[in-house]
Each structure stands twice: as C-alpha cells, then as structure tokens.
Symmetry: C2
Subunit: 471 residues, 2 copies
C-alpha cells in the first residue's frame, strides 16, 4: 500500500464512513484506519439495538390497555428476555452488515489498528508511518464509567455490553437519566424487570423545560422509581450492589451505567498538532468546517465532544470529507437543532432551548395531551408540549415536549423552524382529523392568543376574488 496519501481517515464509524463517501468521489489515495469492532456505534451498540429493545418492550407494555380495548388474555402474556436480547442481536447483526461490508470492500485501504498522530500530516499505525495531505479524525466515543466501578465486573453494564447479555438480572439500577438512561430504563421496566433510575441532573432525558420535565417525571414514575437531582454512589454488599443518592437507597443485582459518553482521544497524539487542548484533551474545532484551527486536520463526530447524535455526526463526517478534498475550505450552516428520545411518550427538543431564549422576548403556547381526541382513542393521551415564539412577530423559536408521536411532531416543528416560519404560517397548513398534530395546533393557537396580531382566520384571504366554482 502507498504510504503517501491524499486523505487518511481515522475511525470507520458513522462520521468516518460519511467522510469516506465524499473522499472516494475525488481520490483513490486514501485509507481508513479503525481500532476495535467495526460496524458504527449507532448500529452496533446505540440507536438501532436500543430501538429494537424498545419496540419489544412497548409491544409487551401495550397489554395494559388490552382490557380497556376489549382484548382478553393480556395477563397471561410473558416475556422471554433471553429471546428478546437474541432478537436485538439478530437485528443488530443485519444493521452492522452494511458498514462492515463497506470497509471490507476497501481491501488494503482499510487498516485495522490503533492510530497515533505524529503531527498534522503523519500517523503511526501497526508500526508503520503513513503521511497524508489531510487527516480526518473520527474516533468516536465510549461510555463513561467511573474507574472504581470496574470492581462490579459483569454486574456493571453499559450500552457496550448490555445487548451482548444472554440474560439480565431481575433488579437493575440505571445510573444516569439522560436520553440513553431513560430509554433503557423504561424499556427494561416495561419488559417486567424491577428497575430504579438515578439521575444526577434535575432534568430528565435532556429536557430544559420545567413543566415538560415535571410531566415526564410523573409519567415515568408510574412505571418505575426515578430519582433525579443527586449523584448516585455504588457499594458492593453481600446481597448485591447498594445504590444510594443519600436519600433513596436500593440494593440491586445489576447496574447499568448511562452517564454519558467520552471522546476516544486518549493516546491519539492530538498534542502533536501544536494547538491548545482543553482539560478533556480536545482541540477547538469549527463546527461549520470541522477543521482544527487552520490545520489540514478535521475532527468529526462523537470524537470532538460536541453533539453525540447520529444525524449530526453524519453531517460532520460529510463536512470533513468534503473539506478534506476541497481546494478551499467550505463553511456549512449546521441544521436546526433536533433531539428526540424514544421513550413513551417521546421526548423532543427542537430549535432553541428555553435556556437560550431571552426572557421577555418570547411567548409560550402549551397543550396537554390528556385532552387530545386521537390520543384518547389510542389510549395514549399523555404528555405536554410547549412551543415558543417571538412575542411580536410570532416567529417560531423552539419547542420541548413529551408527547405521543412526539418524534413526528418534532420533525414538523423542525421544518417550520428551519424555514423561519411564524405560528401563523404553520397554522395555515392542513391538520387532518383525527391526528395528534391537532394537539400541536392547539398549542399554536394558545400562542396566537398571546400575540398582538389576531387574524380572524388561520386561512389566508385570496389576493383577488377568484370565481372558482364547483364543477
């Protein structure tokens, strides 16, 4: 293999492969180095296996509505956890097949090994030094686990190991109530395990809105105990692992650490680049170019510690890839922020967070889904949405929700915010009946009631009278 390359990509995960897609359009002088398992964090241990687990859990949980629907026998359903986990792995294997084949097909351009930067153009891997015009670093992240917790051995799981288990213990504590912790904890509780959730932060699942957070906490609390607002400590006891946050103490058989993820930049040699590194060992990266300073080095995906979301990671790889082969660095607008948590009801945060809005400049429209017709017919009428708009113009700024079909409402709002629409613009679209989107419409109408302009109709009047009669 040629050791003088145009582009060297370190990491064959979602960001690295997205970069590769752009790079290979322009040059054959590239290589991809990967350390550890192939198949992307998302497909192997992240988005996809967790969604598979959640779908099984929600299908089983639905039995609680069976009697009200007129379905008998729900009580005699049981769940075979080892089979659920096998199903998750089967699907996982199908999801990782694509990315694995993608790198396999590269032949010698794909290198398995741990890379170490020797400078802005030099990388050492498997004892060999490679040089490259441009380097894309996309080494991903790994779950955070406090060093002392290793003593719990296989009683301590992370998303890296959870889906590999043949079976799970009955009593499980999930430590960390961010997006991943909430998804996993609710899924395991719905699969009939005795789950307790501990969160350091007051806010669950990445929310920043107190009213939505309170509603969500109350709903979760009906399914399993959730203790936010204090760090948990673990201690080995004769019976298992004792978990306490000072106020609430339980003894469990297994602990799942969901404390967030840490960029994989240890021993990567970032210090050889000659730029300042922060206390996490990370350099500054321009999120519109993915470039580190003015170096020919790009840092994309989870590895830069920015946002560990697949769609952002894919964009970052894409941007880094385009810039690695561009004559001149191109600056890209990043997308409207969107976060979804696949709990039930879904959590979603779109556009600006409440903490980013200037008090006094905006108004908030709310809707409680208990009153929503379609959600009632589905026996899913739980949740709350808050939508924020500029108090003068009605420009949509952001929204937070825990809502039935919230993932879909969030995409509708994301499009509206992305296009700089006002509340009036959004109310102009058709809302079919009966759909949960009507609940969002109620929140929008709650907004217009607070705005200075109150048109008599959501419809716009014709510019000129048109005699378009029925045929």
């Amino acid at each position: 293999m040629d050791t003088k390359l145009d582009v060297l990509i370190i990491g064959a995960g979602s960001a690295g492969l997205a970069a590769l897609r752009e790079v290979r359009k322009h040059t054959k002088r590239f290589a991809v180095i990967n350390h550890g398992p192939y198949g992307t964090t998302c497909a192997r241990v992240g988005c996809m296996p967790s969604k598979s687990l959640i779908e099984a859990a929600n299908a089983f949980h639905r039995r609680q509505s069976f009697a009200e629907f007129g379905i008998n026998g729900g009580d005699s359903l049981s769940v075979d956890i080892p089979k659920v986990l096998r199903g998750v792995r089967d699907l996982r294997d199908r999801f990782i097949a694509g990315p694995i084949k993608f790198t396999e097909d590269l032949g010698p351009r794909s290198i398995a090994g741990k890379a170490r930067l020797l400078g802005p153009h030099h990388v050492l891997v498997n004892g060999q030094e490679l040089t490259a015009d441009k380097i894309i670093v996309a080494t991903g992240s790994r779950p955070i686990v406090p060093a002392t917790w290793t003593e719990f051995g296989d009683r301590l799981l992370t998303t890296d190991t959870l889906f590999e288990q043949e079976r799970l213990y009955e009593r499980i504590a999930v430590i960390g109530m961010g997006a991943i912790g909430v998804e996993i904890a609710q899924a395991l509780a719905r699969l009939g395990l005795e789950v307790v959730g501990y969160g350091q932060d007051d806010f669950l699942a990445g929310l920043t809105n107190e009213a939505v957070n309170r509603t969500f906490h109350e709903l979760l609390q009906k399914e399993f105990p959730v203790y936010p607002g204090a760090p948990a400590e673990l201690r080995q006891t004769a019976d298992g692992i004792e978990v306490t946050n000072g106020t609430h103490t339980v003894v469990v058989e297994q602990v799942i650490a969901a404390l967030g993820r840490r960029p994989n930049v240890d021993d990567l040699g970032l210090e050889t680049l000659g730029v300042e590194l922060d206390d996490q060992g990370l350099p500054k990266v321009n999120p519109q170019t993915m470039q580190i300073g003015d170096l020919p080095v790009f840092l994309a995906g989870d590895a830069n510690g920015r946002v560990a979301l697949l769609h952002e990671t894919a964009d970052e790889g894409h941007i880094a890839g385009l810039n690695a082969v561009a004559g001149k660095i191109i600056c890209f607008k990043r997308r409207t922020p969107l976060m979804v948590v696949f709990s039930d009801p879904n959590i979603a945060v779109v556009g600006k967070r409440l903490s980013e809005l200037i008090p006094g400049t905006f108004v908030t429209g709310a809707f409680d889904f208990r009153r929503q017709g379609r959600a009632r017919a589905a026996l899913r009428n739980k949740g709350l949405v808050h939508v924020h708009a500029d108090k003068q113009s009605g420009l949509l700024l952001g929204a937070e929700m825990c809502a039935p079909a919230g993932e879909h409402l969030a995409h509708l709002l994301a499009l509206a915010i992305d296009r700089s629409l006002t509340v009036y613009d959004l109310l102009h679209m058709p809302f079919y009946h009966p759909v949960v989107e009507e609940g969002l419409r109620s929140a929008l109408r709650d907004l217009t009631a607070q705005l200075p302009e109150k048109p008599a109709s959501d419809l716009s009047s014709c510019a000129a009278f048109q005699a378009e009669a029925l045929d």
Copy 2:
C-alpha cells in the same frame, strides 16, 4: 323566539357548529336548526368511533409480531367483540358530549326539526316560518345504500348502524373499498372476523397512484380477500347474503355498505333559491366563499358534495360563518389538499394527485419501506412512498403513499407543499435517526438524482465564513 334573524344555520354538525362559532361573535340574532341526532357525523358515526375500533383492532393484531419480539402467549389472546363495540360507544359518548352541550347551551336558539327553504331569506321549520338575512346550509350527508338492499334488514350495516351493534356476525362483506370501507374492513379482519372486501374502482382508499395502490393491495390481501375493479351484487340466499362481482362469489352473514356518502339535500327546498341545480340536486358553490351564486345563502360541509373530510368541513363552516356576518364577501384560499386513511400502513395523498400533474413536467422519487431501518426495528417495514416534484425546479408538487406513520409523513409533506418548498429545502431540515422520516428522505434523494441541479450537500454553505468555534 324572534323569527327575524341575522343568520340562520341549518345543521348542527361540524360545519354548522364551525359557522356558529364565527356568527355568535357578531350577533345574538341567530338560530341553529338540526334534524336527527345531535353530535356531528365525525364524533358520532365517523372519524372518532372508527379510530377507536381501529386502535383496538391494531392492538390485537400486534400479537402476530409477539413471537419475533420474544413475547410468549400471543396465541392465547382473544377479543371480545361486544366489549370492543361497547368501548367504542363509551368513547363516542364522550366525544359527542361537547357538541351536544354546545347546542343545548343555546336554549331556544337551538331548534330541533326539519328545515325547508322557502327562498333565500325564508325557512319553514316545525310549521313556523323564520326569516334571516343570511342562511347557512350545513345539513351534512348520509351513507349511500342502494334502495333494494333494504330487504337485508339488520344484516345490512352502514357506519350509521355499525357502532350501535351489540355483536357482529362472523362472516362479513364490506362493499366499497374507499377510505371508510378499507378502514372498517381491515379493522374487523384484525379483530378476527372473516372479512371480504369488494371495490368497484381499481384504486383502493382514494389512491390514484398505480404503484402505491398495487403495494397496498398486496399488503391488504395478506389480511383478507380484497376484490377491486368490479361492482358487487347482493342476493338473499338460504345461508345468508350472497355477494358476487361476477368473478368472486362469497356467502356472508352480514354486509357493510361503504359506497360513499350522499348530501342531505332532499326536501330541503334548494329549488326555491332560483339557481340551477345539478342532477344530484346541488347548486354551484364557490369553495372560496361557500356562497351559492350571489345569494345570501351558503352551503358548507358534506352537504355541498365537495370533500367529506372533517378539516375541510370545519374550514367551510368557518368560511360560511365569517361571510354570513361580513359586510362584504371574503374570499379565502383553501388549504393544500390532504387525505389520510387510517389503515395500516396508513394511506396518504398530499398536494396534487398524479392525475392532476401534466406528464413530462415532473419527476417522481420513490422509497420502499421494507428497507427502512426504524420500521424494521418496529417490525412495521411495509409500504411505498412516491413524491412528485417539478422536473426543473424541484418544487414539491404532491405525494402518495402507503407507509408506516404515513399520517405523520403526510403532514410534513403538506407543510412543505403549503410553503411551496423544493426538494432541496426539505432535505435541508434535520432528519433524526432512527425515524421513518428517513424513508421519506430517501425518496427525496431519489428525486434529486433525477433533477438537473445536484448540489454536493443537503446543507447550505454559509454566506460568509463565520469563525464560530467550539467553546
């Protein structure tokens, strides 16, 4: 009661009540006449009870995925149809309570009786003549049933009678495979009844796109026999009712007529208005004003034979109400067309139908949901979406689909089409991962591959380089 009114509304259904909401803001000299049961077609016998039945049916049907998820005991579930129907009626009663109270609270301004127009300002009801400056006719519609079918007595149901049944027979034919027929037939089949569907048209559920229709037909056919493309004839036999379309013959115990709805304009006196009536007895109505000719009479909702969809009906009542109290007739733009059928997968038609597009001026992007990751994790990966865009500009024109979460994809597309967005605009929004909206994105990318302009990125580049670095 005063017999000289500003506005008289005939019909206390969805259109009439929407009109009333506007009228009462401007005058107290109004009355609402209603014939037959109160509570709106939608809440009483339409959208809401059907959705309630569908939710129960889908919950029961989901057991077919239980084994694959790792859930045992799905085979021992059973459904109690009388209980399902009671549940539907219970919910129905809660949904109709609102509209009923709305008219009850009107006191003497609410009149129960059959109205007959005597001219553009005069109405006869319960032997009394009322005069009004403006009249809003919103008398709704009723299911079409061929006259000879009355011989089948209570073996012949329509949506007016279906939800009132204590129980249902085992073998049921649904005649008519439009939106309502498809929804009811699939729900009853999923509740374990032996259903056969007959449709006169080749297209099911209001589709106009052959590929989508074929996909949907194949999917439905796996659940129950569906025979589109030929009218069905019924004949009483010793064993029950024989249904045949000439090719396929079955004997069933009960028949549900879902042949569409007919405006309630019989004996209404529309001929006294002095305008031309068509062979259905309907005058021309301007859909942007709801006015009949230049008369002080408005015809809104199902009664005008235009589109029997709740959100359109509500708009029509709203427009008629605003115009009945306006000094000068206001002309309103109607909304982007949107139709959803709550089958599984959902059917949706957004914007222009294929038959309304000029051949050669557009391109079509397609995506088959068998390949969609999230839908696969949910074991719901069935369906097809076609999106049409202008072949030069990429302006979104319309879409048809049978798709998982199709009702939500349809709202996203409806907003995009309503705002005159291009494919590129829509691709600019964030698509979270993993969501079924990614399937829509694949169809959009299939579109851009056929368009003359092929940007290197879905992202837009910054107008000017911004040195927005990581904190």
